[in-house]
Amino acid sequence: MSVSLTASHTGPAKNMKVAQRLSRSRKRSDTVVKILCYAATAIGLLLLASILATLLIRGFSGIGLSVLTEVTKPPGSHGGLLNAIVGSLIQTVVGVAIGTPIGLLVGTYLAEYAHGSVLGNAVRFVSDVLLSAPSILIGLFIYQLIVAPFGGFSGVAGCMALAVIVIPIVVRTTEDMLSLIPTAMREAAVALGAPKWKMIVLICYRAAKDGIVTGILLALARVAGETAPLLFTSLGNLNWSLSLTKPMSSLPVTIYQYAGSAFDDWVQLAWVGALLITFGVLALNIVARVVLRGGK
């Protein structure tokens, strides 16, 4: 250490001119990089602002009571989005309701029972891959599995596709939250003579409740905006229908169909739908964050 110190003293520091130039160039490159980073962050924030502003400007003027009370109608006759909104709500809720218990159980298995076993690691890996797998493939899969054999697009198929997307999200958060629980807490429960299942249900789930709820909310937000898997499963329906066995309308698919159309009032409705769905999804995300922070 002392050798290198003396070496640096006999080095460039002797020549003040060289030292100053070096220091200046180091500071300059530091400043340049910092400015670039500020710029990058500004770009990121501007992009978000631009998207939200576009949605507000284009969508807000179209918001009216008729959007919520009328079903989709042919161009020129002042339709609304009622069937799409209701369809979206049904499919999202049912999808999450199917996917959550499965995800919860898998997450519990990973956190409490797997303990580095080969099967556990494989399941974790698969879950992680599914978490980021293209959602359009999940749509194709459900099409092959349910739509094609049972003859026809249906709301059930849409729900199933969304459930497949929900599972890995819930698995991820459940496992993360359960593994945060201190071992001492578990040991205390077991020491009192509680069987393992009781320990998990009564102690771990309670302690991890906020985190798990956050995961479910995030899953809800994610599937509410999914379009690609619904295209091949529930297809979309321009009429009023609550039947899960028939094609079912949904907000994202309706937006997709309307935004690409040539009719001004359809495009306008697409913007309204986009505004509704984006702010709904962002609100869910923010609520999820608040829940998580409140728990800590």
Binding site: D30, G44, I136, G225, T227, P252, I255, N285
Partner: protein
């Protein structure tokens, strides 16, 4: 879970089998997509998928790095959480919204201002000019890559921020103690320490970009032709599946071809995501 993944792969493979059987390996290299003569090939879509995803990475990695650097080193404490949350919210916006935004906001800007200017300036240069030719429609490979870049910035930035945070403060403090500037600490300490995980984050972004459907479908131009310029239209696996699917009958060869495309996309993204997991796992857990 395991059964689910296996089922997805098998279903897509079985569905695509007729196409694989009919066209053999030629399916991967053929550029035809002709419903009338029932000739289908995957080369164009595979090219479009890879081209847009790689371009999107090139555009988004520097910005994501800047954001992560800002959030870990530069931002004042009280700003970190709001800015971080805002960037994460960008990731939560549904992809169809990006598609609409791209189609109604970015495409006109590209068509009116950026593309004509670039074609007139850089397009005149030899060699690289060839990349910037073509009519300024606004849609095309580059626009799709731009939208994809916007979509994956938050994912890459969030991963980078998390791994940068995981660098032990002692390392950074010692470097600062020696008189390093912030950038030097970043370059000499943080980046070498986190290199593997940063690559994992980038691969994660790549995986996202490969399979993105709705946003790309809006802006890529949807032509089955290998684009020779950045402004040329093209398609990706996901966009061709989304567009052609409603027009294919159950049991037809076209449907089989689309499912085969889905199978190829699954294999590609599975490999990318698997690599990303392997790179990310040890560092984030340890």
């Amino acid at each position: 879970m395991l059964v689910l993944l296996g089922a997805i792969i098998i279903e897509l493979f079985i569905g695509g089998l007729p196409a694989f059987r009919k066209f053999g390996f030629g399916f991967l290299t053929s550029t035809d997509w002709d419903p009338v003569q029932e000739q289908y090939g995957a080369a164009v879509s595979i090219f479009g998928t890879v081209a847009t995803a790689v371009l999107a990475l090139l555009l988004s990695v520097p910005i994501a790095f800047g954001v992560a650097f800002y959030l870990t080193e530069l931002a004042p404490q009280w700003l970190r959480r709001p800015v971080g949350t805002a960037i994460e919210l960008l990731a939560a916006v549904p992809s169809i919204i990006f598609g609409m935004w791209g189609f109604f906001v970015i495409v006109p800007v590209m068509a009116q201002y950026i593309q004509p200017t670039v074609i007139d300036s850089i397009g005149e240069l030899p060699v690289i000019g060839a990349l910037f030719q073509g009519p300024p429609f606004g849609t095309g490979i580059l626009t799709a890559a731009l939208i994809l870049a916007v979509m994956i910035i938050p994912f890459i930035a969030a991963t980078m921020r998390d791994v940068f945070m995981a660098v032990p403060p002692v390392f950074k403090e010692s470097a600062y103690g020696l008189g390093c500037t912030t950038w030097e600490v970043m370059r000499a300490i943080v980046i070498p320490y986190t290199r593997v995980s940063v690559m994992g984050g980038i691969m994660l972004g790549l995986g996202r970009a490969l399979g993105e459907t709705m946003a790309v479908t809006f802006v890529i131009g949807n032509t089955n032709r290998i684009a020779t310029t950045l402004f040329g239209p093209g398609n990706t696996i996901a966009s061709i599946v989304a567009l052609e699917f409603p027009e294919s009958e159950a049991g037809s060869l076209k449907l089989a071809s689309l499912l085969a495309l889905g199978f190829i996309l699954f294999v590609i993204s599975f490999i990318v995501l698997a690599i990303s997991r392997m790179l990310l796992r040890p560092r984030l857990k340890g």
